[in-house]
Amino acid sequence: MQNALYTIGLYGAVFLYLAFALMPIYWTIKISVTPENLLYSEGIRLWPSRATLANYASVLRATDFPRYFTNSMIISITTALIVTAVASLAGYALSRFEFHGKTWVSLVLLLTQTFPLVMVIPPIFRIMSQLGLTDNLYGLIIIYTAFNIAFATFLMQSFFDGVPRDLEEAAMIDGCTRVMALRRIILPLTLPGMGATVAFVFTAAWSELLFALMLINSDSQKTFSVGLLTFIGKFAVDWGQMMAASVMALIPVCIFFLFLQRYLVTGLTAGAVKG
């Protein structure tokens, strides 16, 4: 009886979370297949009486979206890999060493997370244009990397903190060097953390709008988020096309997350401590 109640509660909770998470995405999909003339008259129906893929076809054929898509891909993957590498190093230093100035380093990292972006837009724009980094993907990669390092470092630090020091010290007593201990003990145990870090940075870079909007002018360098804005005309929004484009943009993130899940789910810790 108690088991049955537990099962009902468990699946009930799972259902509620799923419904809350998916309802807005479902609505986006619904709007993307709704013909324009039915958009308002069938606004609250769960599914339009007549579905169409015309919005998708026009986004693919008549817009620069494939181009924006590629740009966002390049930026997000590059940023995620650089940030995770740099933040793992920094997080390891903060977790495993006691040194003079450690509090200050944490404080400086924190500082970069606290100020409103609007405050640095004018100075960053000036510096970037002097370096010739406006209107190209490298400029955005540099900025996104800088913005994400602090968070990623704190995240990696807490993952390193979660690995008992004894494991590492035992390995070093057994004759492992620090680097060997890092590779054989720490890295496998923090792999889920690194996976999570990559996922976060990727999505953060993928969604950023403000700086992309400020720094990119030419159509060939636009990212996905800026591309979405081009659908908003001065007087009316082409909702169908915009939603179709957004659904397409969700696909890589979807695949990315399903791939990364492996690292989150695998109980590496249990395996390593037992083995």
């Binding site: 998470a21 190093l89 920094a90 606290t114 409103p116 510096i127 800088a146 889920p192 997350f257 109980g267």
Partner: protein, 304 residues
């Protein structure tokens, strides 16, 4: 001193030197990037707060803009709104995120698929999140007002975004939706790295599920919780995009936060100087908050 001991002494010293240098070596790429791309521009930005900008030039005005803030009623309202916005969003994001993390840690059918799906909101661009929720709250084309009306939350099916009393809940709900995965992913990853032996030992000792949660799960999650809550608070407090897209601070300033106020001052009123001064205020408030959390975390770690 013999040559041998001197050599040993030298070696020892250079060893100590390299030990002191080692953490800085690992930190240097991060610090280099952050300093050149963020700290330097930040300092330039702070210097803007002492200057009055007009169309073609700027002049030094000292603390004048800080004095203006004292009598700025719009700003005072924005500070109250920021507390609501940050507190409301954070509370629900954290507890619903923690609940989701613990839920996903249990075995059930289709868990992998569910996990991928419930994390999706995080991947949706903010700009789009705002627009989608605006639509959902719209009584003509969205379902929510009719649902709220049916279950008695609203007297009539209208958008909550147009009513100053309820408008703030619009962006807060969108923000909760967007932020739950953040806590769920980080807390789930932290939960996964707790050795399962601890739970086995606890259940052999006869600990109940609740005792296992408070004695094993919570203490191990505490460092991650402290860091994620702190960062999230700061993010939410400075996060203007969602509110800007959904209500632009209205109606009647009811959703105007410090962050949106800075946006409006900088871009609409083109008052870079005053916007920077307000930003400095926000920065100061957040640093004080962060220092408190860091101290609390340190005390917590010492206990362990």
């Amino acid at each position: 001193m013999t040559l041998a001991t001197r050599n040993a002494h030298d070696e020892n010293r250079s060893h100590r030197f390299s030990v002191a240098l080692e953490p800085w070596l690992y930190l240097s790429p991060a610090l280099l990037i952050i300093t050149s791309v963020l700290i330097v521009p930040l300092i330039i930005g702070i210097s803007y707060s002492f200057r009055k900008f007009s169309a073609f030039r700027s002049e030094y005005v000292g603390l004048e803009q800080y004095r203006t803030m004292l009598t700025d009623d719009v700003l005072h309202g924005a500070i109250i709104n920021t507390l609501w916005w940050t507190g409301g969003s954070l509370f629900f994001q954290f507890f619903l995120g923690l609940g989701l993390a613990l839920l996903l840690n249990r075995p059930f059918h289709g868990r992998k698929l569910v996990q991928g799906l419930v994390f999706l909101p995080w991947a949706v661009p903010t700009f789009l999140t705002g627009l989608t929720w605006t639509w959902l709250f719209n009584p003509v084309i969205g379902p929510l007002p009719h649902i709220f009306y049916a279950i008695g939350l609203q007297a009539e099916p209208v958008t909550i975004l147009a009513n100053p009393e309820t408008a703030m809940w619009g962006p807060i709900i969108a923000n909760i939706w967007f932020g739950i995965p953040f806590f769920a992913i980080t807390l789930l990853a932290a939960r996964k790295s707790i050795p399962s032996e601890l739970y086995e030992a606890a259940s052999i000792d006869g600990a109940s599920a609740w005792q296992q949660f408070t004695k094993v799960t919570l203490p191990f999650l505490a460092p991650t919780i402290a860091i994620t809550v702190m960062l999230r608070t700061v993010w939410i407090a400075t996060f203007a995009d969602l509110i800007y897209v959904m209500t632009a601070g209205g109606p009647a300033g009811s959703t105007n936060t410090i962050a949106t106020y800075i946006y409006v001052s900088a871009f609409k009123a083109l008052d870079k100087g005053y916007a920077s001064a307000v930003a400095v205020l926000l920065l100061a408030l957040l640093i004080v908050y962060a220092l408190i959390v860091i101290q609390m975390r340190r005390a917590l770690m010492k206990d362990k």
